[in-house]
């Protein structure tokens, strides 16, 4: 999936070929396959092979959504969202919130491993104030 | 000195009353006293007298030990009077209490039993007339 084409809409684009990064800003909306990312500013980094290695979205309420063919839809919010393409891992940082199926997680830092569907939330991480992790768990309806 | 035969200045007793009472001897005594006093017992009467079950207690006077004992018989019964149309309590729940002293001579237990039953009947008559006193002022309201 890493190699799929990326469609980007944004107001401005700044290219930094030397570092291999592109920074879009102003209502940025990025799609890559079943991944959708929005934010006030999105930085795209590419590896030597030119493939996208990391997307970093920042903004008042950056948003990530993924609809895996086989699993449940996942939605994430945060002041900063880092999507590690190779590891297929997402980090939501500061005012982080993750919805996975019927469960929701809030906190200072939430990390989600897409393929292994693992979530890890923490109440504090460097650079944020202390935000207790809050979650709602709805038992399966018997 | 101002004394007049009772009943000349105001209506004498209640003219009709609904007696809601337990099925015991006190209710019977009250029923007789009311009818003798000229009050008609009628389920549709404007006032309802709620009369609880009688409770007769005995209290020894002096030391209990010797064969000849003097006791005080106390009859108590809760009662209240309600106006049927709006359920208002003209006489809120109260306990009617009358008592009488009685010699109990253990030498003749049958006589003691008779005298005790007579005293209880006497207490019921006394309680009934006390109840009538309490009902009399109600008929002006």
């Amino acid at each position: 999936q890493q190699g799929e084409p990326i469609e980007v809409e944004a107001n401005r684009l700044e290219l930094d070929d030397r570092a291999g990064t592109a920074v879009y800003s102003g209502e940025v909306d990025i799609r890559q396959g079943n991944l959708h990312l929005t934010g006030a500013r999105v930085e795209i980094q590419r590896n030597e092979a030119g493939e996208v290695s990391r997307l970093t979205a920042t903004g008042e309420r950056a948003y990530l959504e993924q609809n895996p063919a086989d699993g449940e839809r996942v939605q994430g919010w945060g002041r900063t969202i880092i999507y590690h393409a190779a590891e297929r891992r997402v980090e939501l940082i500061d005012r982080a919130e993750l919805h996975r199926g019927a469960d929701t997680f809030n906190g200072a830092y939430v990390e989600y491993q897409i393929d292994r569907r693992l979530v890890e939330a923490r109440a504090s991480t460097e650079g944020t104030d202390r935000q207790r992790v809050r979650m709602t768990l709805t038992p399966e309806q018997q | 000195c101002g004394f007049q035969l009772r009943g000349f200045d105001a209506a004498s007793g209640l003219e009709s009353l609904h007696l809601a009472a337990a099925n015991d001897d006190l209710a019977q005594a009250v029923r007789e006293r009311l009818t003798r006093g000229g009050t008609r017992l009628d389920e549709a009467a404007p006032l309802r007298l709620n009369l609880g079950a009688e409770r007769i207690r005995e209290r020894p006077l002096g030391l209990v030990e010797s064969g000849n004992r003097e006791i005080e018989l106390i009859l108590e019964a809760p009662f209240s009077v309600q106006r049927v149309e709006d359920g208002a309590y003209l006489l809120p729940q109260e306990t009617l209490s009358v008592s009488q002293r009685l010699h109990i001579n253990e030498a003749n237990l049958l006589a003691a039993d008779d005298q005790r039953r007579e005293a209880e009947a006497n207490l019921r008559r006394e309680a009934a007339s006390r109840l009538l006193d309490r009902l009399r002022p109600l008929n002006e309201r």
Partner: protein
Amino acid sequence: APPEPLAASQLDWHPWGDQRPAGALCRGRYLVPDYRLPAGATPEEVVGESEQADYGADGEVILGGEVVLRRGTSQLESPRVRVTAERDRALADGPLALRDAGLLVRGDAGELSLTDDAATIEQAHYVAHDQRLRGGAQRLERLPDGRFRLASASFTSCEPGSELWRLVTGDLVLDQASGFGTARHARLEMGRVPVFYWPWVRFPIDDRRQTGFLWPTLRVSGDGLDYAQPFYWNIAPNRDATLTPRWISDRGLLLGGQYRYLYPSDAGQIDGAYLSGDDGGNGPEGSAGRRFEGEDRWYVDYRHQGRFSERLAYELRYGAASDGRYFDDFGGDFGERNTTNMPRLARLDYRGQVWRLEARAQGFQRLDDPLADRDKPFYRLPSLTASARWQQRGFYQQWRSNLTHFWRDIDETSLPQSLEREAAVGTRLHLSPAVGWRFDDSWGHLEPRLEWLHTAYDLDYGERVTNRDRRPDRSLPVFSVDGGLIFERPLQLGGADHRQTLEPRLNYAYVPARDQRELPDFDASERAFSWQQLWSPYRFSGADRVGDLNRLSYGLSSRLLEDASGRERLGLHLGQALYFEDRHIDLNGDPDTLPPEAAFQRFYNATRERSPLVARADWRHGVRWSSHYEVLYDDHLERSERAAAGVQYRDPRGHVVNLGYRWELQGFDPSVEVSDDAFRNFDREEFDLSFAWRSSARLDLIGRLLYDNTNDRFLEQLAGVQWNDCCYGVQLVWREWVDDNDTGILADDFTDRGFFLRFVLKGLGGVGGDAGDYFERAIPGYRPAVL
């Protein structure tokens, strides 16, 4: 054993400190903190908060760092919680705290169901705030239906930090819905010292059920140490039982019991007790207390009332005791004896519109030891009564008839000649029809009445040789006329409208004298003079004797009634009787003789021309004070034959003071013969002071003094303290009283004294039962604080 209790601060306990309210019995109170999380959108939703959360591969969620989970009304706090993939269970590490409505449980580890209320907590400590109960358990399970099951648990209502009492059990089930706890292998510990053990016990855990469970009674008295330990078994909402093992140091183990049942149309109870091999008590050799040493002592008392229909009711009663001294030796709470005979009765009672029928079989076991033949009561086997009344406006007719067979098991030949009239058994027919005319209005009444008494006997004197008539009979009229007027006037008193009545009354009665010497004496007894006797033509009770009478009674009553309520504030009554002929008939029944002048009081009563002047007053001064006075004054010999006065003070705060005075001339009660137990050869003058003082919410002071002024001795002295604390109550009573050995003779009186300690464990269904009723009888108007 249950875990050691936690510190008070851990159990939501907040001491009052110095701003303790006046009525507070405990030194602090439980305060439930608010929830730390708002509830979820639906009662099933689980809301959580933690320092970190890991959502495992298989859907398991692991929460760490001050985790708080909230589901509906329950909230879990724990350092680490694992929620299963199916989201049906949460496994929490300790130290955890589980809260629900009115409940706190702390523990070392726990498992909570997320689909219902079930939970299991290890090494648990719990507090039920509303019922002020707390304790610990190796394991505490909350079952899906809301009950709690605790394994090797403890249970107490004492405030945290107090070790006064606790119940330690194998397993314990607390059912707040029904309000009961059930325990197995339960032992009661007082200050960590085991005091009692039950293999199985069920007890109330809230005050819905008033009867107490565990109020052990400890008595130190003439009979040494006396420890009673009742336990209550609530079998069903309408049936319960109390078993009371009572260990008396010098007598042995007395096992008492009571079973009660209540059904829609009938109810009943059976009480009893059994002691095998009485060790005799610690009285000196040959003393009354040792009379039944070595024998089995028991009593049983069965009562049952019921109703077949609206008109047909029945009653059954059977009482029996092993011997006449049973209640002397094992009597009431504080050594007082209140049972003098064991009644036996079977009664069927039909009340029709006009006719009233009653069939009755009746007898008594008289508890008097030794019991002479002449003192044995007769049985009525049976007594059939039919009575009716017809009324046409004022005129009425009454029919009363009774057929009774009297029987008793004595050696009739052994009775002395003077008591030959009591030697027979037999059947008596007694008819007493009457006609009368009753005029009744609010201003007065008049009632002339004529009654005809016809009595016939069929007697059997057994082996006794006597020429008394076997089939005597007697017929005579009883004429009486009773009339009275009621005058009234309004009266202003203390700013309130009152009404004062003036009620003159006259009553003439005439009964001719008839020879009744051949008649037996089954149930006849001469009545003592009283206010009621002024207006009654009958000088005897029972039907074997009809006293001749020709007298006019006159009386004047005045009553002060509150206009608004009709309540009687003051009642004054005066009355006297004029005798136009001497009264010849006494138990001997000879119409032509009078009592010998040597028996002065009986001769004087038979020949006096005027009865004592009766003066009575009942006065309700105000809400707190009331008093009663009565005197029977003989204006001929200028002496009072009988007098009584009483003043009562009732304070809403709970204080009660009663002051009483009683005087009675020797021989005043004609029914007491010289040979009776009750005969006493001195005038009776007694002062009676009793008080209860609620000095604070925790302390009641109780006292009673009964002084016999004639013989200058105290008949009873009682001083008591009732201490009412947070989780227990103590009644401490010192009582010294005269036991008169069932006779009026001074010589055989002896003083007994005892120190009684009653201990009450609150929280185990509160206290009820008969604990307080001795005080209520000794101190009229006193309602002991519900401990």
